[in-house]
């Protein structure tokens, strides 16, 4: 590169991108666009598909551009903890499939996967997205344990956004099945009561119901690159970014989390507010998209 920071025009674009990635991005950002044709704050196309795996109690896939994650829920019955006899549990695990990215190796979950698991479970726990009392079958005797397993199939940036969307969609379509509590303390599955019967459930039967979510958490990743703010970054952009800011909001405009993990750029109030506003808009868009998908799935 010559001192002016310009590179000979004979280089092909792909080689230039590999050799001088920062310069390559700076050229695009200066023109308020990005290499994939998006505007700075434009997100990639989103799709979410409920009930992707029939063997799980509920599941969903979420795609954000090329990033893809699948979430599955498995239910088990357990005895509630002594200190909270009227609450169930939620256990979150995130796995990055070895095919998802060249940086992921098979074996023990790496830092990225463990951070994602911690973030998703902290969002779902702290904000009371799922009121734990709903998971109680009988106080002190039986409760539901919700195992939420998320697998990242393709890691192309903004993974928390994709994982949280998949998790939310899976939990949103989760139906807790009807069970019978026998006299000797066992919990046995039973057929669902007919929807039309208005009569109260017979003695010992815990009627099945949909899990009611209190709020709709959505994560929005933004990155600062060369003083400019971009949203929904790809893996390449995340690698080159000066810092990454992840905002998690619910439907009422509250912050459920904010993660800005170091990096070389600082984020002042203006930047944070811009990110928060972007996250609120994103939350509304995704809410609408998910409700459309769910109603389409129930109609078909």
């Amino acid at each position: 590169m010559d001192p002016k920071g310009e590179v000979g025009g004979s280089l092909e674009a792909d080689a230039f991108r590999k050799l001088y990635p920062h310069q390559f991005y700076a050229n695009f950002l200066a023109k308020h666009t990005r290499p994939d044709g998006r505007a700075l704050m434009q997100a990639r196309p989103v799709s979410v598909t409920p009930n992707a795996v029939s063997s799980a109690d509920s599941s969903a896939t979420a795609k954000l551009g090329d990033s893809a994650a699948i979430a599955g829920v498995k239910l088990e019955v357990a005895v509630p903890a002594e200190e909270s006899p009227d609450e169930g549990h939620l256990a979150v695990a995130v796995e990055m499939a070895p095919m998802s990215s060249p940086d992921v190796r098979p074996g023990r979950p790496g830092e990225a996967a463990q951070c994602l698991a911690e973030q998703v479970s902290s969002i779902l726990a702290s904000s009371d997205v799922i009121p734990r009392q709903q998971l109680c079958i009988e106080q002190g005797r039986a409760c539901w344990v919700v195992y939420l397993d998320i697998i990242v199939l393709n890691a192309d940036g903004s993974l928390l956004d994709a994982c949280l969307l998949a998790a939310w969609a899976a939990l949103r379509s989760l139906r807790l099945p009807s069970v019978i509590l026998t006299a000797d303390g066992n919990v046995e599955p039973c057929d669902d009561l007919p929807q039309t019967s208005s009569a109260a459930a017979p003695e010992g039967v815990w009627a099945g119901r949909m899990l009611q979510l209190e709020s709709q958490p959505v994560a929005q990743s933004c990155a600062m690159m060369g003083g400019k703010l971009i949203s929904d970054c790809t893996a390449e952009e995340e690698r080159l970014a000066d810092t990454i800011i992840i905002i998690i909001v619910d439907g009422r405009g509250n912050l459920l989390g904010l993660i800005k993990a170091g990096g070389t750029a600082e984020a002042g109030d203006m930047i944070m507010q811009q990110c928060i506003e972007a996250a609120k808009l994103r939350q509304q868009d995704l809410c609408r998209l998910l409700e459309d998908q769910l109603s389409a799935a129930t109609l078909s």
Binding site: I123, S126, G262, T264, E266
Partner: protein, 228 residues
């Protein structure tokens, strides 16, 4: 309103910082925020396995050990946050293919352990003479269920809080001799969990900055005394 130890809402607990405690490590430090105590030690720049090394810059490794038990997903998250913070200030390009390894052991957790760990890591890096272009200071803030803001919460305050926010601001030496160190206007690391409004976040970031300024003052004084 006063808190457990007759503290005002914006008051930090007693700060203590000790340096060069471990003779085998390149640098080490112990930082106290009241009863919370974290020991940090730094090895490096040193060599690392070929798979991990980077041809253009030093690699930072952070190992966060909880007070008891084995490290879980929460500790990995802390490691990630601390590593990204350190990467932002250490002149990594000076040591290509090298590794700087930071080991953090929580000795006692009475709230704000992450902030205490970041402060201990900063002092340990100074003790190891790792070149950095800035120092950094960290504090924890929390908003209570009633919306009140508390700086440097204890563990009970943390558990009862609606949202907990840990902030890191960078600091550098003042231009004028004997003046206070100047602190960055915006946080370089900021991590919140729990539910709060955007306004509460902005207020907490502001209060956190004031507290970080006091913490940076203390760190400068403490380092200055121990090196002179």
């Amino acid at each position: 309103m006063t808190r457990d130890g007759e503290r005002s809402p914006r008051q930090l607990r007693n700060l203590v910082c000790e340096r060069s405690l471990l003779h085998r490590a390149d640098g080490s430090a112990k930082f106290f925020l009241g009863k919370t105590c974290v020991l940090a030690c730094v090895y490096g720049p040193t060599s690392t396995v070929t798979r991990k090394e980077n041809a253009e810059q030093a690699v930072i490794e952070v190992n966060y050990r909880p007070m008891a038990g084995i490290a879980g997903t929460q500790e990995r998250q802390q490691e990630h946050l601390i590593r990204r913070t350190i990467e932002g200030v250490v002149l990594v390009a000076l040591h290509p293919r090298a590794c700087i390894s930071v080991i953090i052991q929580v000795l006692e957790d009475n709230g704000s352990a992450l902030a205490c760990a970041v402060n201990a890591a900063c002092t340990a890096l100074v003790d190891a003479a790792v070149p950095m272009h800035r120092l950094f200071a960290s504090v924890c803030c929390c908003t209570t269920q009633d919306g009140e803001l508390l700086v440097d919460p204890s563990s009970t305050e943390e558990q009862e809080a609606a949202a907990v926010l840990t902030l890191v601001y960078t600091s550098r030496r003042a231009e004028v001799e004997a003046a206070r160190p100047s602190i960055s206007s915006a946080p370089m690391m900021s991590f919140s969990s729990g539910q709060c409004t955007p306004q509460q976040y902005l207020l907490a970031a502001l209060a956190g900055r004031e507290a970080c300024q006091r913490l940076a003052d203390f760190s400068y004084l403490s380092l200055h005394k121990s090196f002179s």
